[in-house]
């Protein structure tokens, strides 16, 4: 963004902040900013930081903008504690929010344009950008929901969800164990393991491989989640039926990807093994398997999301009185959306943690692949 535009935008943000002092904060009668000395001071400081950021050079400017953003967030959140403002916020409130949004956006954009020489610094920046971005989105969520007075029953604010989350550890843990550990993990391990073994067999006996690969490709595209009711019929209501669904869901992508991976070893490398008089088992161990690792991990990553979805959806078809899917449908029916979101947060955290774990394992075993080195 050209420097002048940026300067203008930051100055506009500063002016937006000052609007809070002048314009009404709420449609209800309430004390204006001028009668809240601490908040007024903070607002003026923020405006100063934005204005300062407009004229200072890069690293200081970015720091100043983010400092202003942090202060402004604190001010607006503090204002929302006032019952006369929450739910009735007016332009005096929203202009600072918009101004802060602009400043935050500019800060993130400038951070993205920064190219530090140091490797650790660059990694910190790469981590900071999405985190700051995400944090701001959460802030916006909180402020919009509370500022507009959206009923909690319809769409709760993050703070409400967080309170509910930390207030119900027992229930959350129970649901987590039921869905994630018993339903998903067991199914994931069995399904991926079986897919792997069959792929190794299919690689050894090419006739089997040539027949299974197209069939496997086809079946992976099918809505396998639909077999959930059948699994309930076979295995009962409890977690084995969910695990069975996960097994079927994860089997085929694992089979297809592992087979593709085992086939990537080049002709030259295979001839090399032949020239050493290596048997099939040795060649499998030293050539085919290591070469297949990128593909295997690709499947493991895909399967981690598929497995989770499968386990939760399978619960919609019938489950004993616990499980993430179960809890969500029950609480949604009771319109207790804060609990629903708390469960979603649980699912999101668990899902991301698991995926991150698989990604780390992938990095350790496939660091040599060209796609990581570029």
């Amino acid at each position: 963004m050209p420097a002048n535009w940026r300067r203008l935008a930051l100055l506009a943000a500063a002016i937006g902040m000052l609007a809070a002092a002048v314009l009404p904060l709420s449609s209800e009668p309430t004390a204006g900013l001028l009668s809240r000395p601490a908040l007024l001071a903070a607002t003026l400081l923020t405006a100063a930081l934005y204005a300062g950021a407009a004229f200072v050079a890069a690293p200081l400017s970015i720091a100043a903008s983010f400092g202003g953003v942090a202060l402004s967030c604190a001010v607006t959140l503090a204002l929302l504690r006032d019952a006369t403002i929450a739910g009735y916020a007016a332009w005096g409130f929203w202009l600072p929010v918009l101004a802060t949004w602009g400043a935050a956006w500019l800060g993130v954009a400038r951070l993205a344009a920064v190219k530090p020489h140091d490797k650790t610094a660059s990694r910190i920046v790469d981590l900071a950008i999405p985190l700051l971005f995400g944090a701001f989105i959460f802030y916006l969520w909180e402020v919009t929901v509370r500022g507009f007075g959206v009923p909690t029953v319809l769409f709760p604010a993050p703070s409400v969800i967080a309170i509910r989350f930390f207030a119900s550890p027992a229930v959350l843990w129970q649901d987590f164990v039921q869905t994630f550990v018993l339903g998903m993990l067991t199914g994931y391990v069995i399904g991926c393991g079986a897919g792997f073994l069959v792929a190794v067999l299919a690689h050894r006996y090419t006739f089997l491989g040539r027949g299974l690969l197209p069939i496997g490709n086809f079946v992976s595209a099918l809505p396998i989640v639909g077999i959930a009711p059948i699994m309930v019929m076979w295995f009962g209501f409890d977690w084995p039926s969910k695990a069975a669904v996960v097994v079927v869901i994860t089997f085929f992508p694992m089979l297809v990807n592992t087979l593709a991976g085992l086939n990537t070893a080049g002709h030259i490398e295979r001839d090399l093994m032949r020239s050493y008089g290596a048997g099939h088992r040795q060649t499998l161990q030293k050539l085919y398997l290591p070469a297949a690792m990128p593909f295997i991990f690709n499947a493991l990553k895909i399967n981690s999301t598929l497995a989770f979805i499968g386990a939760i959806v399978a619960e919609f078809f019938g489950t004993p009185t616990q499980g993430i899917g179960f809890r969500i449908s029950i609480e949604a029916g009771r319109m207790a959306l804060d609990m629903v979101w708390a469960e979603i947060a649980l699912a999101a955290i668990a899902g991301m943690a698991f995926y991150g774990f698989v990604a780390l394992a992938e990095r350790a075993t496939t660091f040599w692949h060209p796609s990581y080195r570029t």
Binding site: G266, I268, E269, D271, L272, M273, R274, S275, Y276, G277, A278, G279, Q282, K286, L287, P290, A291, M293, T366, W368, H369, P370, R373
Partner: protein
Amino acid sequence: MASIRPFEHTTAPEAATGEAGAPAAKALTVDARGVSLTFHTGDGEVQALANVDLQISDGDFVSLIGPSGCGKTTLMRIIADLQQPTAGTILVNGVSPEQARLARHYGYIFQAPALYPWRTIERNVMLPLEIMGFDAKERRARMERYLKLVNLSGFERKFPWQLSGGMQQRASIARALSFDPALLLMDEPFGALDEIVRDHLNEQLLRLWDQTGKTVVFVTHSIPEAVFLSSKIVVMSPRPGRIVDVIACDFPRDRTLEIRETPEFIKVAQRVRSGLRSGHSYDE
């Protein structure tokens, strides 16, 4: 299958000359008679090799030279039991190619280094040793010895992509030497490298051959390279592959690259070129 110790090769004794300068008969490492290979493809037959007779003695450095598609790589793959002929007989070290392969009589070096990217250089060199059942101490000792021989000491812990093309190819040579095979089969190993590196590696290969006394079969389509390195040059014609000429060279074993400007060298090179021409290698 119990690990088979490779054919232990000792450095060849000096060519014993009998009375009146007649050299003693040397063992035949490769004995090919009437070897032919015909492919059956969708649109008819393709004859890759037609009636090839070739004898390679112990300790020879034989170059196979010819245009692309003349079957020189195919011939070498037949020696290596990576392909089977459709006619003719072939003996490697007195046994069938398959037995020679299972007894690890030869080391194969491809056009590309074919190092495994997930193994460090040292583990790459030790790969055949692991397969053949050498114990850990022996593996390490051999790896160090042969990496030193190709001047790559100090690069053991590096990964292949951290090395240049020439260094990777040297590592693959060390790997082929590590289990001490009597026969080295090299398929255009320096083709992908620039000329300066190539010259350098040619010299190193010559030293290696001189020091270890192995038999080398070397496929190339560079005339200077063939003439510089070989004790015998086999000129082949384009498909169907046939041997057009066999030229013996006896340049001194301690030759350097300067020899390429001498008249003797040029004469041999001209003979190679005329052989290629008579085999229609230069025709469209």
